[in-house]
Symmetry: C2
Subunit: 253 residues, 2 copies
Amino acid sequence: PGKIIAVTNQKGGVGKTTTAVNLGCALGVLGRKVMLVDADPQSNATSGLGVSAAAGASVYELLLGEVSLADVLLPDVSENVSLLPAATCLTGAEIELVGMENRETRLGVSLKPARRGYDFIIIDCPPSLGLLTLNALSAADGVLIPIQCEYYALEGVGHLLDSINRIKRSLNKKLSIEGVVLTMLDTRTNLAQQVAEHVREVFGEKVFKTAVPRNVRLSEAPSFGQDIFRYAKRSRGGEAYLELAKEVIARGG
Amino acid sequence: PGKIIAVTNQKGGVGKTTTAVNLGCALGVLGRKVMLVDADPQSNATSGLGVSAAAGASVYELLLGEVSLADVLLPDVSENVSLLPAATCLTGAEIELVGMENRETRLGVSLKPARRGYDFIIIDCPPSLGLLTLNALSAADGVLIPIQCEYYALEGVGHLLDSINRIKRSLNKKLSIEGVVLTMLDTRTNLAQQVAEHVREVFGEKVFKTAVPRNVRLSEAPSFGQDIFRYAKRSRGGEAYLELAKEVIARGG
Ligand SMILES: Nc1ncnc2c1ncn2[C@@H]1O[C@H](COP(=O)(O)OP(=O)(O)OP(=O)(O)O)[C@@H](O)[C@H]1O
Ligand SMILES: Nc1ncnc2c1ncn2[C@@H]1O[C@H](COP(=O)(O)OP(=O)(O)OP(=O)(O)O)[C@@H](O)[C@H]1O
Ligand SMILES: [Mg+2]
Ligand SMILES: [Mg+2]
């Protein structure tokens, strides 16, 4: 139980947070118990669910060993979903962690005791391959890689795979690629079609059949502090994330 | 001479690289001499101009003091534009710099001797507030902030302003906000209009009159290794960046 999935891609703005929040909440709507971990100093997943990032202790204090998981976890931010919130002081964590013992595995150690209580633990990562992302990769069973159908988004994938393999060899033997999801797909442009084709060539079966279309409801929802199922359940964005959740469950969640 | 502008916003995917490359090349088209500095480990600005990031020494070796500026600078990547390329090993720089002397000011020291030879030095930053971005802020005269008209993009601006003020107080008294540019503006959506209005309320005169519309030519150009003026000069994207360059010059470049 308690499959840990890190949602990561160091390219910025490819839909990591939108995927972590809405896939997490889709799994909740389908009756799975989910913990969403916001490991990004921007704390977008936290505010996207209507939680004020400054309110209390966060992932930051957990990583530094100052609080226990129970002290920071916020239950029921959405149906069957609890949240481990971020705070902006997480930016400092990257530099503070450099000098600490077990600097890459502290998140995994904190999450381990909680696994039994959840079906899925989904970690939203910042757009970098620094210590916060390395902590997520060390803790995870699988990596879910959102890829925007744009040229720059394709470029960095090799570098991400190198980091995943490095963590797999050194800190986390069980780590594998859960899957690749195409995001903000606008089928009207040639570039998007070409990038999508290239991603399917490189990743084959790993690419989820569900591609998430560009859908303005997905970018509106966080401004109301809601996931897509509370904001616009019948939208194309809501339906895509529900389909994606069904595929994640079918792959062995 | 040699005004240094850091293009930065820790929110990912807001158009930092697209702005640094195409504003830089627009200034070149208008006859200004420009150096483009790629301080992002993703090296998108480098590959977006058709340069292979792996080819030789980069900003990384410059920051560690192993090479001189002349050793790494690539002249004439575009009309009147030379490039200080990035390489993926820059990811390591963030951790390696932590333990070094003058870790936040090394880029500024390297660029100082070159200022006389250029009208503008434009620095593309990674999506974080780590040591690479702090180096760019310490070296810069002005900060140009691209803001995508989306909810999450608005959230992080306060945090960015805190970092700018911190660097201004401690390491770089001359640092000021050059301006804010609205990017990927799709005037058909309510959210974009609301965000644009909010940005103009917060930043007033600092917001450039030119907003960059969403234009597929801008995302296609890097896949051909070209800036927008070589790829599709008469496109809405090309015209917007030419107008933006004229505003930057008028503001005292
Ligand atoms: N399918 C979609 N349709 C429309 N807008 C989307 C979609 N997915 C994401 N967005 C919007 O695009 C922007 C980038 O998405 P998001 O913030 O989730 O990416 P990210 O990878 O988490 O970014 P960062 O690298 O900063 O963490 C956001 O404003 C979001 O609302
Ligand atoms: N005005 C625009 N119209 C259409 N596409 C755009 C526009 N500006 C940028 N893009 C595309 O949006 C994506 C994000 O832009 P870009 O990579 O420049 O952002 P960034 O802030 O540099 O990202 P990162 O945070 O990863 O460094 C890219 O694929 C780019 O080609
Ligand atoms: Mg995010
Ligand atoms: Mg960039």
